[in-house]
């Protein structure tokens, strides 16, 4: 099945709204929202709003039902897990902070947390803070020269001191996809917990977290065709059960006196206060949209575009590509540098032709250090991209050279 991008774009309202040329190649920063998610959001906020979890009037009951239905949709997207294992958060960043807080009782002097140099700051800074708090040691797993996780190095670092391994499923810079199943077996063998940052991987298709064998999995709605404001931490029930409360507030308690509070079971214990109901409903609708797609076809489409982009870049003088060149090992997130031009200047001039790309360190400074650079240009693909988008970028780079010399 070939993907008909024109048809697929009908599911994404932005393409009607933005004037041509509009080559959106920044989906790794935020993807565009799909129509069902936008409709769920706007319908709830504008036409049917009530708070969830406690009201008995029909509007409130319907809101609660829709909220729990969103949880079921996300559970399906993650391979059919128990919905009670799906915790709604404000995004990946909050989810990973919750994970680091919840696992803190396992940390302490003599214990280690492994993170890779590929990590986004959101899967690094929370562990730095947790280590500083508990006295555990943060240890870096190196990357290969082409920006993949160094699986052998990781395995050498795994021993009984390791309490937690926190890794990104797919890098937001190099696009490299790690072999989480392989890592999970090795991590389990030393009795450690595996936390996976799925923010970049989920937008490229459903993930069976149980099959992968990880313990916790985080992602954001806005990168997965939902709305800004909501995300997910999935966790194995046995692991979440003993997590101490993180944020205190309404809805997460069973009983409160001034002296003492007792806390509800997961997921409610971790959903303090009014949740981002509209964004959660959008996330549920986006998950359902994702489940309805033909991911084999979308994957082939993405690989073809990635190949075209990589080949076009490789054919240019002084371009350095920051990730693996084998499209089987990566998603369509492609970062690169031009030797003689700064990423910001490049992105600025690409915008001139309606090409939206991102320049900077992409919240992955340790990886920039690994490559010995400060910043790069990143083009990231989603199902709604086509060859014209890729070609506009490649032609745009020629113009950049012409203008900046």
């Amino acid at each position: 099945m070939r993907v008909d991008v024109a048809v697929l774009r009908r599911d994404f309202p932005i393409f009607e709204a933005q004037p041509a040329p509009f080559h959106y190649l920044d989906s790794a920063a935020t993807a565009q929202i799909c129509r069902p998610a936008l409709e769920a959001l706007c319908r709830f906020e504008g036409k049917a709003r009530a708070n969830v979890k406690r009201g008995v009037y029909r509007l409130a009951e319907a809101a609660t039902r829709a909220f729990e239905e969103a949880r079921r949709q996300v559970a399906r997207l993650l391979g059919g897990v128990d919905p009670a294992e799906v915790v709604f958060t404000a995004g990946t960043t909050l989810a990973l902070n919750l994970a680091a807080h919840g696992l803190s009782p396992r940390l302490g002097p003599g214990r280690r947390v492994l993170v890779s140099v590929l990590e986004h700051h959101s899967n690094l800074v929370p562990w730095q803070l947790a280590c500083a708090r508990t006295g555990a040691e943060l240890v870096a797993v190196p990357a290969t020269a082409d920006g993949r996780l160094d699986h052998e190095a990781l395995e050498r670092l795994l021993d009984s001191r390791v309490a937690v391994v926190a890794l990104t499923h797919a890098s937001n810079v190099t696009g490299a996809v790690s072999d989480v199943a392989r890592v999970a077996r090795a991590v389990r063998a030393v009795g450690a917990v595996l936390v996976v940052d799925g923010a970049q991987r989920i937008p490229h298709g459903p993930v069976d977290v149980r099959r992968l064998g990880c313990d916790l999995y985080a992602f954001s709605g806005h990168k997965a065709y939902g709305a800004t404001g909501a995300g997910v931490l999935w966790g194995r029930r046995e692991l979440l059960e003993p997590f101490p409360p993180f944020l205190g507030g309404g809805e997460m308690i069973t009983r409160v006196t001034l002296a003492h509070s007792s806390y509800r079971e997961p997921p409610h214990r971790f959903e303090a206060g009014t949740p981002p109901i509209g964004p959660v409903l959008a996330l549920g609708a986006a998950a359902r949209w994702m489940m309805a797609q033909d991911w084999q076809a979308l994957r082939a489409h993405e690989e073809a575009l990635t190949r075209r982009l990589l080949a076009g870049l490789a054919a240019m003088r002084d371009v350095r590509i920051l990730g693996p060149t084998d499209v089987g090992e990566r998603i369509g997130v492609v970062a690169f540098t031009l030797e003689s031009h700064h990423p910001h200047d490049i992105c600025q001039l690409l915008d001139e032709r309606g090409v939206c790309t991102r320049g900077g360190h992409h919240c992955a400074q340790p990886l920039m250090d690994h490559f010995g650079i400060e910043a790069s240009v990143r083009a990231s693909l989603a199902p709604y991209n086509d060859e014209a988008d890729v070609d506009a970028l490649l032609e745009g780079l020629e113009t950049v050279r012409r203008i900046l010399g």
């Binding site: 979890k53 406690r54 009201g55 008995v56 029909r58 409130a60 009951e61 609660t64 039902r65 308690i253 069973t254 009983r255 509800r264 409610h268």
Partner: protein, 138 residues
Amino acid sequence: MSARLYHEAILAEARRGEGAGRLEAPERVVERDNPLCGDRIRLEVQLRDGRVVALRHTTRGCLLTRAAASLLARLAPGRTPAELAELDRRLEHWLAGAGEVPDEALALFAPVREVSSRHDCVRLPFMAAAALAREEAS
């Protein structure tokens, strides 16, 4: 819809308040909160040969919870904690729209099935009874 909820049989059962009160020397005590409204039930139980022989409850709750507590008091004697846990499980499923009513005595809750926000009100006494089994197991 909700007017149907408060039909005569439920009101009567709530008023009857079967088993309300306390035991002289309870063998087992369970307390359970409904975290959403602060409702609370306290079950006091006497067992013989692993089966409930006496059950009393102190219930602070809505009509549905009180009717359910009254029904629990009628259904519990003769059952094991494990059987009560199974009863709660089947009650949960039936309320959610699946399966048969777990006991004819509970059929009066049929209108509650459409009102998901109140399922836990009906279940509170049965969840407390189910907790007897969990305590036993641990």
